[in-house]
């Protein structure tokens, strides 16, 4: 992608993020001037950036947002929720456009013209808040676009008067036409009320690029200054531009009735060719004039600030450079004395006199305040030979470079995959050493391979660790959307909620963080929707009317713990029991037998939803079972505690990383399998006579606890007996599934290893009993099973 566009999108997202945060902060402290100032600048930055690209819809909305923020900053418009809502809506729109541009395949920003309607609507919504601030509109201040307006291109009752063009311009135009360039004459009369509609005629003209010729005049004689209404636009723009009529029509698509466009070819035929040779290019002449005009204006300033000397010297430097640039270096010799006397007199007069003697004031210098109408040379303005003269940057430049690099995720993923392959490849070395010794009988070589393996192993592990560190992301990536989410939902439900977040900087692997996003949003919605009560209900229960929602994250050894706690009504176990019974999830005996905690855990059962009615927030048939499964997919666990009337707390425990999985290798029916160590509680040997059959299930007693036993060969339908060791003891893998312990009888337990677990692909992906596969050092494939699904 085009690096500038790339930068724009990246910075745009950052800025949007900051805008969202500041807006929410401002709701808490609406009088914070510094915050307001920062918010204005963020919007301003975004608008300035969007102006670098042809993104009229985005610029339009941002321009309106900037004006509104400017008014809010100056206190002309109160900062309230309505304003925040409108701004947030506008920023969402901008975010949508940014996403759309980011997804476009090619280098240039795609046309976002189909959002033009939204842009107009949002722009007007923002400006409507400014109304208090502006002079009253006419009774019917809105513009009506006549349905039968003639096609934009040819409303030419006011045709161009080409005789007004300077001879040199005419020649230039003719040469361009001869060269096949498409030129158009453009007349633009913005309607008088245009400023109230978020239109910016001047900007619109500037966006066209520099015209070949232009004229800007008033449509009527200017009234006396006292009677002048600065809010009415009475200007008429005329320009000749290098563009097709279609492009111009597209450019002025919002105001087709105010624009005349006429292709130029027919108007220029009568001219006779004449050679024109100018000493310097039109662009250079323009710059020279502009620089001189600006210096003249500066020298006309009558103030005497402490920095006057510096200002005068800078003017002299600019004048000197300008004269040298047009090969008039010889005249600069007298500039130095003029500067000296100006500095001595602390007055610009000597410099002004010097300038007037060299270059009398010209019309162009005095008239053009802002240079919209310079000549242009579209044939080759880039600098091909400059490519050859690229210079290295100096050391001090690097001081300004950011210490943080933004790297495309795909690059990190690629590194991760490569290191994964490297880990697997290095695991082949011990196997190779074994072969060197056993098959080829060269023990010395085997020893050397093993030594080398140790070195490579250490480096690979460090590399892996380093890359894992790069992949670590703070949970704030997910948390940051909660203030807005909570605010919006609370408003919608009419509840008062105070969100408190802690530990946002806690880090975990990006896969974990990403997997966390949807479940967390669901949990937060649940808390707001079902957990926290309406303000009156809270007051009746003797609680503060404002509910509290705590979201915290912290690291505990190699796990990340995330807790979402509310002080709402809590979960009523009896209601859960009744619901579960009604839905056929439990039978009557269970209804009696279930402890309160077990009852509460029933909310994780598939097909359980406690909402009396499906609301538009947390309803939609998605229950807590989906949340639990999503967490389980990244080897996480979820723990729900609730106190009726006091509140509910959900605690998620997640691994820091899932890039590398620690598995235990087990043997059964002469095959090797892997079991994730996360789910292994312990391994024990159980003598055959300690296995009893209770209710047709084999069980044993481990430290006073009854543990059901299952045979792995039966689970996998391997059609073989489990083989005990010489003492007639079976190897049993005790696994923990949802707070329950189960024993799996296998033939033997072997070492644990770190593997890169690859999910099963294709039709094998349907085998839920397996978490995936991994390559072992000897090149064989290890199937890793997923105890939760298998049992």
């Amino acid at each position: 992608m085009n690096p500038l566009l790339d930068q724009f999108l990246t910075e745009g997202r950052d800025v949007l993020q900051s805008i969202g945060e500041r807006l929410l902060q401002l709701e808490d402290s609406p009088n914070d001037a510094a915050l307001m100032d920062e918010l204005f600048r963020l919007v301003h930055t975004l608008k300035g950036n969007s102006g670098l690209f042809d993104l009229p819809e985005m610029t339009r909305v941002l321009h309106a947002a900037e004006d509104l923020m400017d008014a809010a900053r100056d206190g002309r418009v109160p900062f309230d929720r309505a304003l925040a809502d409108r701004l947030l809506e506008a920023m969402d729109f901008v975010a949508t456009l940014i996403d759309e541009i980011a997804e476009a395949p090619d280098d240039t920003p795609p046309s976002t013209a189909r959002h033009a309607g939204d842009a107009v609507r949002l722009g007007e919504a923002l400006r409507s808040l400014l109304q208090d601030d502006s002079p009253p509109l006419d009774a019917d201040g809105t513009q009506e676009i006549p349905q039968d307006a003639p096609p934009a291109l040819y409303r030419t009752d006011a045709g161009p008067d080409l005789s007004a063009l300077p001879e040199q311009t005419r020649q230039d135009l003719r040469q361009r036409l001869d060269a096949g360039e498409s030129l158009c004459w453009l007349g633009y009369e913005p309607e008088e009320e245009c400023f109230f509609k978020g239109e910016d005629p001047f900007h619109q003209m500037l966006q066209l690029g520099a015209p070949l010729w232009h004229r800007l005049e008033a449509r009527e004689d200017w009234p006396a200054l006292a009677e002048l209404d600065a809010y009415r636009c009475v200007l008429r723009f005329e320009a000749i531009v290098s563009a097709s009529p279609e492009r111009l029509a597209e450019h002025f698509r919002y105001v087709p009735d105010q624009v005349d466009i006429l292709p130029l070819s027919a108007l220029m035929q009568t001219d006779t060719p004449q050679a024109s040779a100018t000493a310097i290019g039109p662009e250079a002449a323009w710059s020279f004039d502009r620089v001189l005009a600006a210096q003249r204006e500066i020298l006309a300033l009558s103030d005497t600030p402490p920095w006057l000397d510096g200002r005068l010297r800078a003017v002299a430097a600019s004048l000197s450079a300008a004269f040298i640039s047009v090969d008039r270096a010889i005249e600069v010799e007298t500039l130095e004395p003029a500067l000296a006397s100006a500095l001595a007199a602390r007055s610009p007069a000597p410099l002004l006199a010097w300038l007037d003697a060299r270059q009398p004031p010209t019309e162009i210098g005095e008239a053009a305040d802002i240079d919209a109408g310079a000549p242009t040379d579209s044939s080759g303005a880039k600098a091909p030979e400059a490519e050859a003269v690229r210079f290295g940057r100096r050391a001090e430049d690097h001081l300004t470079n950011p210490r943080t690099l933004k790297v495309d995720q795909a690059k990190i993923d690629r590194l991760m995959n490569l290191i994964g392959e490297m880990v697997v490849a290095k695991n082949a070395l011990p196997y190779l050493a074994g072969r060197a010794e056993d098959v080829f009988g060269v023990r010395e070589l085997a020893r050397e391979i093993k030594t080398q393996y140790a070195v490579i192993n250490r480096i690979a592990e460090e590399m892996q660790d380093a890359i894992m560190q790069v992949r670590m992301m703070p949970v704030s990536f997910v948390f940051q959307r909660f203030p807005r989410l909570v605010r919006d939902i609370a408003h919608k439900l009419g509840k008062e909620v105070r969100l408190v977040m802690e530990g946002e900087s806690t880090e975990a692997d990006k896969n974990i963080i990403e997997a966390l996003a949807d479940p967390l949003v669901h949990i937060v919605r649940n808390s707001l929707d079902h957990g926290l009560e309406m303000p009156e209900e809270r007051r009746a229960a003797g609680k503060p009317s404002e509910g509290r929602l705590n979201i915290s994250a912290r690291q505990e050894s190699d796990r990340v713990l995330i807790e979402i706690a509310d002080d709402g009504r809590g979960i009523d176990p009896n209601r859960i029991r009744r619901k579960a019974y009604e839905r056929g999830l439990i039978d009557e005996t269970a209804l009696e037998r279930l402890s309160d905690q077990e009852a509460i855990n029933l909310v994780f059962a598939a097909g359980f939803s406690t909402a009396e009615q499906v609301t538009d927030l947390s309803g939609r048939g998605v229950g807590m079972d989906v949340v639990r499964n999503a967490i389980a997919r990244v080897n996480g666990a979820i723990d729900l505690r609730s106190q009726l009337g006091q509140g509910t707390s959900l605690r998620l425990s997640l691994p820091l990383s899932m890039a590398v999985t620690n598995v235990m290798i087990i043997e059964s029916a002469k095959q090797r399998f892997g079991v994730p160590m996360d789910s292994v509680a312990e391994t024990v040997r159980v003598a055959r006579h300690d296995i009893r059959t209770i209710k047709h299930r084999r069980t044993t007693v481990l430290r006073g606890r009854l543990v059901p036993l299952l045979s792995l060969n039966e689970l996998l339908a391997l059609n073989a007996e489990q083989i005990p060791n010489d003492d007639d003891e079976f190897a049993v893998l005790v696994v923990r599934v949802d707070q329950e312990y189960l024993g799996i009888i296998v033939d033997d337990c072997r070492e644990t290893i770190d593997i890169i677990l690859k999910p099963l692909a294709g039709f094998l992906g349907g085998l839920n009993g397996y978490a995936g596969s991994a390559l072992l050092g000897d090149g064989s494939v290890l199937l890793v099973f997923n105890p939760r699904e298998l049992l």
């Binding site: 690096p3 930068q7 724009f8 990246t10 600048r41 301003h44 930055t45 608008k47 300035g48 950036n49 670098l52 001047f202 900007h203 690029g209 520099a210 310097i280 290019g281 662009e283 323009w286 710059s287 020279f288 502009r290 620089v291 600006a294 210096q295 500066i298 300033l301 103030d303 402490p306 920095w307 006057l308 000397d309 510096g310 200002r311 010297r313 800078a314 430097a317 600019s318 000197s320 450079a321 640039s325 047009v326 090969d327 802002i370 240079d371 310079a374 040379d377 080759g380 303005a381 880039k382 600098a383 091909p384 030979e385 400059a386 210079f391 940057r393 100096r394 001090e396 430049d397 300004t400």
Partner: protein, 130 residues
Amino acid sequence: MKRILVIDDAATVRLYHRSILESAGFEVTEAVNGLEALERVAEAPFDLYLVDVNMPKLDGYGFLRELRGKNQLPQAPAIMVSTEAAANDQAQAFLSGANLYQVKPVRPERLLSHVQTLLGMTPTDVGRPS
């Protein structure tokens, strides 16, 4: 080699200006606000300054006033680049010590032409194929 300091809080704008100026063979240093710009200047003055108006910590006007107040430094030309096409802002820029006022976005050819003129180079030499 002429050294130019680009001062803008928007990274996109800095990149835009940097790429234009570097393509013409200038050496570009960046600063994200007026204060940082003053630090860069303290290390070594520049041949030209491209200054944004609205920035945190120290804005463009403030930077220019500080710069122009440093009598021991050579005073190089400064171009103020703003998003506002307001005459008032131009006056403010000139009062503070800018030598030219331009409205964003400045077309690449226009920017180069102005920069080269203010550096005593003939724009036709560098800005165009000969």
